[in-house]
Amino acid sequence: MQQVNRLSPFFENLVFERSDNHMIVNFGPQHPSAHGQLRLILELAGEMVVKAHPDIGYLHRGMEKMGENMIYNEFLPTTDRMDYIAASANNYAFALAVERLLGIEDKVPRRAKIIRMMLLELNRIISHLFWLATHALDVGAMSVFLYCFREREFAMDLMEDYCGARLTHSAVRIGGVPLDLPEGWLESLSKFLDHMPEGIADYEGLLDQNRIWKMRLEDVGNLTPEMAKSWGVSGPTLRGSGIKYDIRKEEPYELYDEVEFDIPFCDARDSYGRYKLYMQEMRESLKILAQLIPMYKESEHGLMAHAPKYLSATKEDMMTQNYSLMQHFVLVTQGMRPPVGEVYAPTESPKGELGFFIRSEGEPYAYRLKIRAPSFFHTGLLTDLLPGHYLADVVTIIGNLNIVFGEIDR
């Protein structure tokens, strides 16, 4: 039994000493290539993994419980810390769920929608670059890490110019966005869009035909479509198994039905195929961003939805009209009171399907807030994916699945 006053992990079911030739290896929770705090208990026959048991919860911070004790606007910065590589994607997913609950999704001004999409796609590029950087670092290609961070910093500069933060943006609000694009931002964006394809060509030049990279990735982590479906896999990992499913196309949110882009997918099923897919996805994101620039220039002013019952008025109104100021005071101190009901809003985050389920009882706090994070399902997949691979491939597969622990443990 675990002693109550000691912080010791549960080891009851684990027999390290065995009579057969199998060996139990503990991997993590502080392993440099575990991408956070993943603990894997591996049973090895020689160097081959026979059984894998992922142990999570080392970064459990109680976010869902926090969501039940905070007003909706308060919870928004907390979502930043979930998938911290693409914070705006989380902000957006939460904002969308609350907007659907309030029924103000269509009232969001067009310009706000365009800015949100810019942030989302920029975050997708940041996330994919980070994925490639760490994945390559795990497999042994140090220089790719440095090259990827070069371009990533340019994208981070854009985010910083917009919202002031590098990592935890909180750049999307419920009902719109807080700020218009600063002066000269679009020019910097188009400059970034011009340079980025060269960067992608650089990485592909380093990796595509690289003998070691191909040896480490090809035929490693074979994910059949059936297995992917039964484990609830989503995002690029699912599309790498030949299933063309993207929520941006299936259930378009924002203005994704107005822009033209393809859903890259491949039938290779292995890690190398997924790597090619991520590269292709970055190109598609660039394509979307390029289309958004003229759309932004045509759009009219207006950043927040007009819904005085739920959202504060503009700063000008607050300073000039007494009623708006009172409304703002009530909304800040007590919080908005959404109608009774429940909502689930799926979005396509860089890692897969990210959705917030909110059950509202008409209180300023959510009665239950459930987060469906893609990485959680991808970690479960490790149980099935790792057996049959060598110990050295474990690191490749973990890196390739693109898991982030803030999102898994929440």
């Binding site: 109680g62 419980k65 961070f149 070069r150 622990f405």
Partner: protein
């Protein structure tokens, strides 16, 4: 026969520098701080960014090591949860003396925004901390400044003194 004669009173004087052994050792220690990669959450990304191309941490002589036995400085980057607390103490004990700890970000400092049942309210409840970095997440420049402060701190220390046990808050 050597025709060349050196005048030791001119042109910068003797080609010899006088110092104490303390200074020499501290000079070496402060310019080759090896960091333990202790990425726990969001701050780990900024820690990696500071090691990458733009911020180039290697200038300070810092190299990120994966093993605690090869590291001098532990950068606790991220939220420490109660489930993980035992391991941070174990890794800290595995590091060889002299060792220092940088607590990076609000979560590691005080628990930050996560005042919940699962989070340790400050890493200094488990291991002694030398430098606290504010921010959520701190920028790479902040980590660089912390590294420079730590260098100053190391240079002030006496190299051969028996190190007093660091106090746990």
């Amino acid at each position: 026969m050597a025709q060349h004669q050196v005048n030791y009173t001119k042109d910068g004087g003797l080609p010899v520098m006088l110092t104490t052994v303390d200074h020499l050792i501290n000079w070496g220690r402060s310019n080759s701080m090896w960091f333990l990669t202790y990425g726990l959450a969001c701050c780990a990304i900024e820690m990696m960014a500071s090691g990458a191309s733009r911020y180039d941490f290697d200038r300070f002589g810092t190299i990120f090591r994966a093993s605690p036995r090869q590291a001098d400085v532990m950068v606790v980057a991220g939220t420490l949860t109660k489930k993980h607390a035992e391991f941070i103490r174990r890794l800290y004990d595995q590091m060889t003396e002299p060792k220092w700890v940088i607590s990076m970000g609000s979560c590691a400092n005080t628990g930050g925004m996560f005042n919940t049942y699962a989070t340790v309210q400050g890493v200094d409840r488990v291991i002694p901390v030398d430098i606290y970095l504010p921010g959520c997440a701190p920028r790479p420049e902040t980590l660089q400044y912390a590294a420079m402060l730590l260098q100053q701190k190391i240079r002030r220390e006496r190299a051969f003194k028996k190190l007093p046990k660091k106090r746990l808050v």
